[in-house]
Symmetry: C2
Subunit: 164 residues, 2 copies
C-alpha cells in the first residue's frame, strides 16, 4: 500500500467531516461533470452543455427558451451561444414563440432526436447507478432537499447576524 496515499486519504476524510455544504456540492459537481463528459465523449461528440439542452428539450415538458434556460441554471449568454452551436450543427430547430416575441421555442431535429436516443440510455443508467448508491430514505429526501437549497441559494442578502 502506498504510504503517502494513505496519509492523503486520512487527511481528506478529516477535512470533509467539517466541510461547508457548498464545498461538498462543488466537489460532487466536478466529479459528476467529469463522469458525464467521459460518457458523452464515448458515444458521440456533444459537449456537456449541448447535451443538457438537448436532454431538456427531449423531455417534452416545455419548449420555451426561458423555461429551459432557467431550469438548467444557465447564464443568458452561455445559453444563447450553446443554442447557436446546436442550431448550426442541425440538432435543434428554433421556432417563434406563440405569445412572447422576445423568446423562442426549441425543438429537436431528426438528427437531434437521434443523438438524444443514442445517449439517453447511457446517462439514465448512470443516474440509476447514482441513485442506487443512496439508502432508501436518502433517495426519498434528496430531491426536496436539493430543491430547498436551490431556492435558498437565490437569496442575495444573507442574514449576517446570528438570528438564532
Amino acid at each position: 500500500m502506498p504510504k503517502n496515499d494513505k496519509d492523503n486519504a486520512a487527511a481528506v476524510a478529516r477535512i470533509e467531516a467539517a466541510f461547508p455544504l457548498s464545498f461538498m456540492i462543488h466537489q460532487l459537481e466536478m466529479k459528476l461533470g467529469a463522469q458525464a463528459r467521459a460518457l458523452i465523449a464515448k458515444h458521440g461528440d456533444l459537449t456537456l452543455p449541448q447535451w443538457r439542452i438537448i436532454r431538456v428539450i427531449g423531455m417534452d415538458t416545455a419548449d420555451g427558451s426561458t423555461a429551459i434556460r432557467k431550469v438548467l441554471g444557465f447564464d443568458k449568454s452561455q445559453f444563447s451561444k450553446t443554442v447557436s452551436q446546436l442550431q448550426t450543427r442541425g440538432l435543434v430547430e428554433v421556432l417563434d414563440h406563440p405569445t412572447d416575441r422576445r423568446q423562442f421555442r426549441l425543438a429537436l431535429t431528426d438528427e437531434g432526436r437521434a443523438a438524444l436516443d443514442r445517449l439517453t440510455p447511457e446517462l439514465d443508467a448512470r443516474n440509476d447507478f447514482l441513485m442506487q448508491a443512496l439508502s432508501p430514505e436518502e433517495r426519498s429526501l434528496i430531491r426536496s432537499a436539493l430543491l430547498k437549497l436551490s431556492i435558498a441559494a437565490e437569496t442575495t442578502d444573507i442574514p449576517t447576524g446570528s438570528d438564532t
Copy 2:
C-alpha cells in the same frame, strides 16, 4: 402578475419533477457559485477558487497539496495556477513537504489569514442560512448522501444493462 412569468414558472416546476439528479446538482452549483462570488466580491477581491483554497488551508486539518486539491475536487492544472496566483499576491506560503518531495505544504501568510478572517463570518452565515432551509431530517442525511454520491461519481464504467 406577469403572464409569461407564470407560464415559465409552471414549466420549470413541471420539468424539475422528473429531473435527473445530476441536473439538479448542476443547477444548485450554479446558484451557489453565483451567491458565493457575490458575497466574496462584496468583502474583498478574491476569486471563488482562491477563496476555497484559503478556506481549506485555514481549517488547519491538512496542509499537503494533494490532500487540499483532492478535497476541493480541483483539477491538477487549475490548482497549480490558482496557488501561483495566491503566492504572487502574498496570501499563501509554499513550503517543502516533509516526506514527499513531489508535493508541497501550504500555509497562510498574515495577509492571507486576514482575508480569511474577514470573509469567514460572511460565508459561515451563508452556510447556516442554507442549512436552515432544510428540515432536521434532511440536515442529518444530506452530508452522507452527498458523500456517497461523490464516491459513486468516481466510477468510470457504469453497469449499462439492468443489473438487478
